[in-house]
């Protein structure tokens, strides 16, 4: 990871080294490059400075860019979000970290009542070019309040963007894009796969669009749609289904809001069968929105009802029982086989 402190490093020209990085390392590199490219980019949050963040996403950046650009804040999520809005309205590009998504709720008033509305309520006079990063999701045996997936709460808010990467390359490309974007972006990092795979990521890695799904695997029989950490189980299920002889298409939604229905519709029109997989609770989830949009736009192309494989409508269980909550590859395979056998 390119985080060592060196007097000889010229901050304006990131070193062109291609290293295999985990997703959390790719987040760190994206922050590093964004700060090198643009003096207006500043980081703030709890424990992000000398400690480098509890997941080490900001490791080394305080030493490299100084206290004024990497700010350890008091323990106050409302404040972190409020000052991000204040800074953004003056033209800085704050990237704030909420330590876990379970602690994002004090920030909601600031996000909903101010960040999301600033451009609209001033007709563009002020805007809010900020990013709020938060690790989210279950599966790491974390304490209570450290494992929830509540992306749907944020996706419902006009004026916000909600982005969820599921690989180091997409984490880098989407975070660079989120920081460049002139509007508030909620960047949710699936911590279960923070260190799951490594990919080559560098300064040359593409900055990705914030309104496009990623087709991870092409196929013609059934479309599996997911995002975040569940992409891992979805890909495993797709490979197994492939062994059974099914031709499976896998879509990583990645940008939950705005939702790229065009890519999803094109795929489902082709396959006619669709399974949506997400870790969050089922009811009123993003899966429900995708399913409704498919019913509106592609009913005639559907050969089977849309299946959802999701968390239950229950409080996220403490970690001893969290495996009962999280979608498993076999759940996805079962749902896919159900749609494939529907006539």
């Amino acid at each position: 990871m390119n985080s060592s402190v060196s007097e000889t490093v010229d901050q304006s020209i990131p070193q062109e080294v291609t290293e295999k990085l985990s997703m959390v390392e790719a987040v760190n590199l994206a922050l590093d490059h964004a700060m090198a490219d643009d003096q207006d980019v500043v980081l703030l949050g709890e424990d992000i400075g000398v400690n480098g963040g509890v997941f080490r996403a900001t490791q080394g950046l305080r030493d490299k860019y100084g206290l004024k650009r990497v700010m350890d804040t008091p323990l106050a999520e409302t404040l972190i979000t409020g000052i991000s809005i204040g800074m953004a309205a003056q033209g800085l590009k704050p990237v704030a970290e909420i330590q876990f998504m379970g602690f994002i709720f004090p920030a909601l008033e600031q996000l909903i009542c101010h960040a999301a509305r600033m451009r609209n309520r001033t007709r563009g006079r002020l805007s809010c070019p900020m990013v709020l990063r938060a690790p989210f999701g279950g599966g790491i045996h974390a304490p209570e309040h450290h494992s929830e997936s509540t992306e749907t709460l944020l996706a419902h808010i006009p004026g916000l963007r909600v982005v969820i990467p599921s690989s180091p390359i997409r984490a880098y490309g989407l975070l660079r894009a989120a920081i460049n974007d002139p509007d508030p972006v909620i960047f949710l990092e699936p911590k279960r796969i923070y260190r799951a795979v490594k990919q080559a990521v560098s300064y040359g890695t593409a900055i990705l669009p914030l309104d496009k799904c990623f087709t991870l695997k092409q196929g013609s029989d059934v479309t599996l749609i997911s995002w975040g950490a569940s992409i891992k189980e979805t890909m495993e299920a797709a490979n197994t289904l492939q062994e059974y002889g099914a031709s499976v298409e896998v879509i990583d939604v990645a940008t939950i809001k705005p939702l790229d229905m065009e890519t999803i519709l094109t795929s489902v029109r082709k396959t006619g069968r669709c399974v949506i997989i997400h870790e969050a609770c089922k009811s009123f989830g993003v899966g429900a929105e995708i399913s409704a949009a498919l019913a509106e736009e592609a009913l005639a192309d559907l050969k089977a009802p849309v299946e959802r494989v999701t968390g239950y409508d229950i409080t996220m269980p403490y970690y001893r029982m969290e495996d009962h909550f999280l979608p498993k590859p076999e759940d996805i395979i079962k749902a896919a086989l159900k749609t494939l056998s529907f006539h």
Binding site: V42, K68, R69, M71, T73, P74, A76, T78, L79, T81, G82, I83, S84, I85, G86, M87, A88, A89, Q90, G91, L92, P94, P106, E109, Q110, C113, H114, R119, N120, R121, T122, R123, G124, R125, L126, S127, P158, G159, R161, D181, P182, D183, D211, K257, P258, L259, D260, M261, E262
Partner: protein
Amino acid sequence: MKAKEYCHIPYIRYLDDEGEALQQLPAWTENHETLIDYYRAMVIARAGDAKAVALQRTGQMGTYPSSLGQEAISTVCCSLLEKDDVLIPYYRDLPGLMKRGIPLSDVLLYWGGDERGSAGKAWGKDFPNCVPIATQAGHAAGVATAFKIRNQHHVALVSMGDGATSKGDFTEALNLAGTWQLPIVFIINNNQWAISVPRKIQSGAPTLAQKGVSAGLPSIQVDGNDVIALHEAVSSAINQARSGKGATVIEAITYRLGDHTTADDASRYRESEELQEAWGREPIKRLRNFLYHRGLWDEEKEQQLKREATELIDSEVKRYLNTPLPEVSDLFDYHYAQMPAQLEKQKRQALAKANGRAH
């Protein structure tokens, strides 16, 4: 030991209720222009405020929160700010907004249900009215942080009511201002009432200012109906912030002579005797007495000012009332710098629907 003995909060006051000097006045008051300017601004703001209430009562504007009786605080604060400083107002700051050069018609447009009221060039980098209580305190801390990061010697001035001091947002912003030594002036307009909740129920703290002490901030009370006291307190706080010495909390004691908003009826919960008594302390009468007694103001000037105010307000009201409706596309065009595809689609639907209605 009683709570009030734990910390001493200074209280600044120069004029008594009748506008007589209680102590030797600061040297700047020898420059009468400043005092006359405060007087003129307050009279015009009060007339504009009364007009806003009248527009609501006659169905020509939506719900409006009157600033009646609190004109001195907002007027003095915004007179002392420089152009590149940033005002983060609450929603009862009409006098200050006008002092910042924001046309009355913008303010009427905002309360008349049109986002363009916060969009005009005159607003500069100032924040729009803030309705969710105390949330603006965090914005002020962010604005001040931006100044500090960029080594700009500007000041963020944030205003709020007494109710706002009960919210965590307020405490969190004070706390940050203390630890980061931010260039902020926190102005609490303690008008004694948060809708129907009186000051004594709002907090058990003997003063609201002392909440700043817990954050390590200099914290004072000032007679919020006394422009001389306000000028002293606010200019000193602004200077301190501008010179890198951090934030100040000012609790300005005033009284809400009107209802909370035009949708409220304060007679349901407030004794008329209390209101009558408060009228005896209001800021405009006090400064008028002061100016009259010193021969700096007379009936002719008063009549002339009233004509000026009427003229200005009539023309601003005309401009407000003649503002055509925005385009339907405006509803969509300012949510994102780059409009998402689904929103484009919904915009086309809304335009088609609107055009259908028009035909």
